[in-house]
């Protein structure tokens, strides 16, 4: 079945440093989604990428979808303590509406 690998598992940064997490799927995806989960909370949808090579920005967050639609990345510029949490990528293949395959998540810690 479809597998989505996400690295790194943990990332500790000083406030103001940049952060990147990477996802790689074993199969071509119809789209990839990114979620953020604050400690003790539930995952919250951030963005969806659909097109090959797509790049989207949300303030300090930049999301990329690979040309082959098998990999993706999330880059945060100049991290802040409010960025703390776990970031998940989730791939959707074919017509499996809402049936996402999640990566293992990257736990981001930001030291002030």
């Amino acid at each position: 079945g479809q597998q989505v690998m996400q690295i790194p598992q943990y990332q500790h940064v000083q406030e103001g440093e940049d952060f990147t997490t990477y996802c790689n799927s074993s199969t071509t995806l119809s789209n990839i989604q990114w979620y953020k989960q604050r400690p003790g909370g539930h995952p919250v949808f951030l963005i969806q990428l659909v097109k090959s090579g797509e790049v989207k920005k949300q303030k300090r967050l930049t999301f990329q979808f690979g040309e082959a639609k098998k990999n993706s990345s999330l880059h945060i510029t100049a991290t802040q303590t409010t960025d703390v949490g776990t970031y998940f990528c989730a791939g959707q293949g074919g017509t499996s509406y809402g049936k996402l395959t999640f990566g293992q998540g990257t736990i981001l810690t930001v030291h002030p």
Partner: protein, 113 residues
């Protein structure tokens, strides 16, 4: 806010006992999902529903059953709980005419001793 309520939010039970988790939504969403979250595994799909009495298995369905007798409630049952089912369980919905993004409930933390 997708209007999702999960209950109970926390439960401790013993091996071999039955457990039912409830997901209740107030906005008439057609699509509902149960995921479990475990360290190092992300979230994994257990079962999903595309409407009343229309359910199907996900990636990790063994040991779980679901029922959806009315639109607003999606029940997840562990017939005989095992320690490997200790986890955080999230219910989620998608918009009927959306692009498949999930909106999660607050989660139910289950501990099986």
């Amino acid at each position: 806010d997708a209007g999702i309520t999960q209950s109970p939010r926390h439960k401790v039970t013993e091996t071999g006992t039955p457990v039912t988790l409830r997901c209740h939504q107030t906005e008439n969403h057609r699509y509902m999902y149960w995921y479990r979250q475990d360290p190092g595994h992300g979230l994994r799909l257990i079962h999903y529903s595309y409407g009343v009495k229309d359910t199907d298995k996900g990636e990790v369905s063994d040991g779980y059953s679901v029922s959806r007798s009315k639109t607003e409630d999606f029940l997840l049952t562990l017939e005989s709980a095992t320690s490997s089912q200790t986890s955080v369980y999230f219910c989620a919905i998608t918009w009927d005419r959306g692009t498949g993004e999930l909106f999660f409930g607050e989660g139910s933390r289950l501990t099986v001793l």
